[in-house]
């Protein structure tokens, strides 16, 4: 199998790497780039642990071959916060107590980020829908929804 050259922007940095063409975007991010916040929970697109933002949309990276992502812009949890400031969603997840085991957390925050970037003022139902592809076995979702509401309000300076 011949390697392919992958060019894409990851967390704002241009990347150019050779990799095996059968690699999923998930493997490329985790194994080739060491971005291990991207988790693998099911490998079949059902749990949302591998969620990343690709060209502004939340996608499950276990269902995307790396070749399909050439030329795109990808954001993982590592790319969300600045030097010493957290993204409002990251801070809100801490404050609302929305983190338990933390395995779903990267995907949850990214799904919520894609939502808030597209819709500044989602209501509870829209928030629930936006994370309905992200399974969490620990929290019962309540504090995750509260965290997203909190981040929404803080972003709007409410």
């Amino acid at each position: 199998m011949q390697n392919i050259l992958v060019n894409m922007t990851v967390n704002g940095e241009p990347i150019s790497r050779e990799t095996a063409p059968n690699r999923r975007l998930l493997d490329f991010l985790r194994e080739d780039l060491g971005l291990t916040s991207v988790k693998e929970g099911c490998s079949v697109g059902e749990c949302g642990a591998c969620t990343v933002i690709l060209n502004g949309k939340a996608v499950t990276s276990c269902l995307i071959l790396v070749g399909q992502a050439i030329g795109t812009e990808v954001v993982t949890l590592e790319g969300l916060h600045g030097e010493d400031e957290l993204d409002p969603l990251q801070q809100a997840f801490i404050d609302a107590g929305a983190v338990q085991c933390g395995f779903c957390t990267p995907g949850m925050i990214l799904a919520a980020k894609a939502l808030l970037d597209e819709n500044e003022e989602p209501d509870r139902e829209q928030i629930k829908r936006s994370i309905s592809g992200n399974l969490c076995r620990c929290t019962g979702y309540e504090k995750i929804i509260e965290a997203i509401e909190l981040a929404r309000d803080r972003r709007l300076n409410k």
Binding site: L86, F103, K128, L135, Y141
Partner: protein, 803 residues
């Protein structure tokens, strides 16, 4: 948050009405119980101000939250080492039989394959199991389930591991698989272990049930059942092993690191201190990461190759071989007087423990001890049998059998309320456990029984949210119902010693190193331990650094199971902190010229409670400590005050304290699609003292949603011992759209046993929602469902039958 501090006088005053007018038993049963086990001298109660806490009861940020939200937390699957191998397991594809022929030579010859191992490569004990060591680490000859581990492979890449697994050749001699407990019980069925398939049987009795039933005005008799469930933690099992300075070091997703250490060491026939198990961040457990998963396989591969090695299970493999919730059938006969006083219960339950014991003995014992529910029942006869089969291994799953039996004891209470035309909450209050209640085991409840308060708080919230006029279905094709469920839950292992320990050192700058064995699987024990330690020492939460679940460094913590860590490791932490504080108190006492018992330690200050101006800061105290050459060190342990249960009638003290809870579920059933939708859940929990109320709420909310999954959609589908729904695509767990509005309420009952009166909530959080869902469905559509889960097809079938 709502806090109800119970009024002990009021509740004890009402206790006896439920018993005294009964003719059958006029006195609570007198049972001889064994004395509690000897407990080493514990430090005295601390000198903190009574319930006026400076750190406890505060919603401090979880210690692990920051790393988790920035994506830095290392789960075992995220770890990498230079020169690292990957490991995989060759597993049986049949449920029962013998290995006729096994050929690993082709697999071993593949370039890049480091080794292929069989049971012959195990230098020590080829047996594992938390209670009964009946599971081989690698099968020698006999296969007992689909997924039994037969060979191990280590290779340079994951692809090569797959290739090697595919190159292993095997032929089986298949035999009849025992797939039901009825078949297991038959004399001529194949025996899975030893001479009988009966795994365990139990008999708990007190009073005289037959005579008592004669005295009853109403008798309710029903059968209930609960199917097999899968934990579906989001992180599949994973681990990495390597040698560090000659010590076999295993980083692993686990709830039970100290147990893991012993199992690995015994397998290799090396001393326990030559193995270091370090808990990696663990992506949920719920009981499914208590058994040995990858630990022994990693240890054996690392031992033979000398190289770092990682194993990450695929979701399907993880679901196939990790333990499952015991399927159980429960037959209940409950008798009561016209006024609702319960006189007798006769109960028979059976369970399928699958191919290996795992936590089966704990599940059956706990289920039997809790079978009456949180009600005083003077005449009780409970029998239980669990059988081995060739089905997947049943084991620990959040609640150890209590979620299953709660379906039955609550189903009975609701049926009884209907039969008597009584309000279901009034009926429960009439029979509720209170301080002074004697349990069927003979134990007397002496403190921290907040059950009635949970019922009253639930009723108050229900009346606030719903009233008769506005409580209507949201659409004409829907029916709506409210349901109630309650539970009680003993904290810690049932009638067994289960100690935990802690080490504390207060450093010169007033920061603290706290070492605890307790594994944090996301529920937040690390944060809880830090809060308890800070409160006891009079320091701030931020001063405490916690090292946990690292067997070379931390003392025994026991398993993170049985809702025991806040209570037991928390008490050990408090004891260790108190020991360090005793030195600090002596030094401060000399310095301030105040008797030690008058000193208050709080928020980094020390003062005389009778003269607050006589005071010093913590940094001054630590300076004084240094000047006179003293160290502030503490060692603590705690073992709950329980007794072994009598083999004859199970009398004794199974637990030192119990948590209580009540849930109200509001749901709708669509009468065209038969789908259910849970809209609101009130879940009230008596947790003793809430160390961190936000985290208690988080446990309750997570439990409520898992309870909805349990009651209304989760079910493992088996065909010939094979799980058909191994992944989230067909084993459906609740998603955000399924989550109702949840009202978590906290009741704080008073007690001395736990650290500052804290009990536990991890498993209780799940339980009451389950029977409450069943009751709500019944109230919505007027049909009783005793078999859970209640799927839309069940509702469709029963409604069509009724039409």
């Amino acid at each position: 948050m709502k806090k109800n501090v119970r009024n002990p006088e009021q509740t004890t005053a009402t206790i006896d009405t439920s018993v005294r007018d009964s003719k059958v038993v006029t006195q609570p049963p007198q049972r001889k119980t064994v004395e509690p086990q000897e407990v080493p001298a514990q430090p005295q109660k601390s000198e903190t101000l009574d319930r006026d806490f400076s750190v406890l009861g505060k919603n401090v940020n979880k210690k692990d939250a920051y790393e988790k939200v920035i994506g830095k937390t290392q789960f075992a699957g995220d770890m990498k080492r230079p020169n690292m191998l990957y490991g995989g397991v060759f597993r049986s594809k049949i449920p029962a039989g013998f290995i006729d022929h096994l050929d690993i030579s082709k697999a071993a010859a593949i370039p890049g394959v480091a080794c292929v191992l069989t049971y012959k490569d195990i230098p020590g004990l080829n047996q594992t199991g938390i209670i009964i060591k009946d599971e081989p680490i690698l099968v020698e000859n006999k296969i007992r389930r689909i997924g039994d581990a037969i060979c191990l492979v280590a290779a340079e890449t994951e692809e090569l591991v797959e290739e090697a697994l595919n190159a292993i050749e095997i032929e089986y001699d298949e035999i009849e698989a025992v797939l039901t407990i009825d078949r297991a019980a038959e004399a001529d069925s194949p025996k899975i272990h030893g001479e009988t398939n009966l795994h365990q049987s139990k008999h708990l009795f007190c009073g005289d049930v037959d005579a008592a039933f004669e005295q009853c005005d109403v008798i309710v008799e029903k059968t209930y059942s609960s199917g097999m469930k899968s934990h579906m933690f989001i992180e599949p099992d994973a681990g990495l092993a390597e040698y560090v300075n000659g010590i076999l070091t295993i980083y692993v997703s686990t709830q039970n690191p100290h147990f893991d250490r012993g199992e690995v060491a015994n397998m290799l026939a090396i001393s326990h201190n030559k193995v270091n198990v370090i808990q990696a961040a663990t992506g949920g457990g719920f009981g499914g990461k208590l058994d040995i998963g990858v630990q022994c396989h990693l240890g054996l591969l690392c031992y033979h190759t000398g190289r770092p090695i990682k194993m990450v299970r695929k979701r399907e493999e993880s679901t196939m071989v990790s333990s499952k919730r015991h399927p159980m059938t429960m037959h209940y006969k409950t008798g009561a007087k016209k006024d609702g006083t319960i006189l007798a219960m006769k109960i028979h339950m059976t369970g399928d423990t699958g191919a290996y014991a795992s936590y089966g003995p704990a599940v059956i014992t706990r289920a039997v001890v809790h079978a009456t529910g949180p009600y005083y029942v003077p005449n009780v006869d409970i029998t239980a049998e669990f059988y081995y089969t060739n089905n997947p291994m049943s084991g620990a799953f959040r609640g150890f059998g209590v979620p299953q039996i709660s379906i039955a004891h609550e189903g009975q209470m609701n049926a009884l309320a209907r039969e008597l035309g009584m309000d279901p909450i009034d009926l429960r209050i009439k029979n509720a456990h209170r301080v002074g209640t004697i349990l069927p085991t003979g134990q007397e409840l002496t403190e921290s029984v907040g059950f009635v308060e949970t019922l009253e708080a639930a009723r108050e919230k229900m009346n606030e949210l719903f009233n008769d006029e506005t409580y209507q279905p949201s659409a004409p094709n829907k029916k709506r119902g409210l349901g109630i469920g309650c539970m009680w839950y003993g904290i810690g292992n049932t009638g067994l010693p289960n100690p935990a320990g802690a080490f504390v050192e207060v450093l010169g700058d007033c920061s603290v190193n706290l070492l605890v064995g307790c594994a944090d699987i996301g529920q937040g024990s690390t944060t809880v331990m830090a809060q308890i330690c800070a409160e006891e020492l009079g320091l701030n939460y931020e001063d405490i650094n916690v090292t946990y679940a690292h067997t070379m460094v931390t003392p025994e913590g026991g398993a993170t199971s049985a809702s025991r860590q806040t209570f037991i490791s928390g008490k050990a932490t408090q004891n260790a902190a108190y020991m360090a504080k005793q030195t600090l108190m002596e030094v401060a006492s000399d310095y301030l010229k105040v008797p030690a018992e008058r000193l208050i330690f709080r928020e980094r200050k020390i003062w005389d409670r009778e003269d607050p101006d006589t005071k010093m800061t913590y940094p001054m105290l630590m300076m004084e400590m240094r000047r006179i050459g003293k160290l502030a060190l503490g060692v603590g342990s705690y073992n709950p005050k329980t007794t072994y249960l009598s083999p004859k009638d199970m009398s004794g003290i199974p637990f030192e304290v119990y948590s209580y809870a009540t849930a109200i579920v509001d749901l709708e059933v669509n009468v065209e699609t038969y789908e259910t939708e849970v809209k609101n859940v009130i879940s009230v929990h008596d947790v003793g003292t809430a160390v961190n109320p936000q985290m208690v709420e988080a446990q309750i909310e997570g439990g409520v949603v898992m309870g909805i999954g349990f009651a209304l959609f989760e079910d493992v589908i088996l065909t010939r011992g094979r799980i058909k729904n191994l992944n989230f695509s067909d084993y459906i767990i609740p998603a955000a759209m399924d989550a109702p509005k949840i009202y978590p309420l906290i009741v704080e009952s008073e007690g001395e046993a736990g650290p500052f009166g804290a009990k536990g909530v991890g498993e209780p959080a799940l339980i009451p929602t389950i029977p409450a869902c069943a009751d709500a469905v019944e109230n919505a559509v007027g049909i009783h469902f005793g078999n859970l889960p209640i799927l839309y097809i069940d509702i469709a079938r029963e409604m069509n039958r009724k039409r």
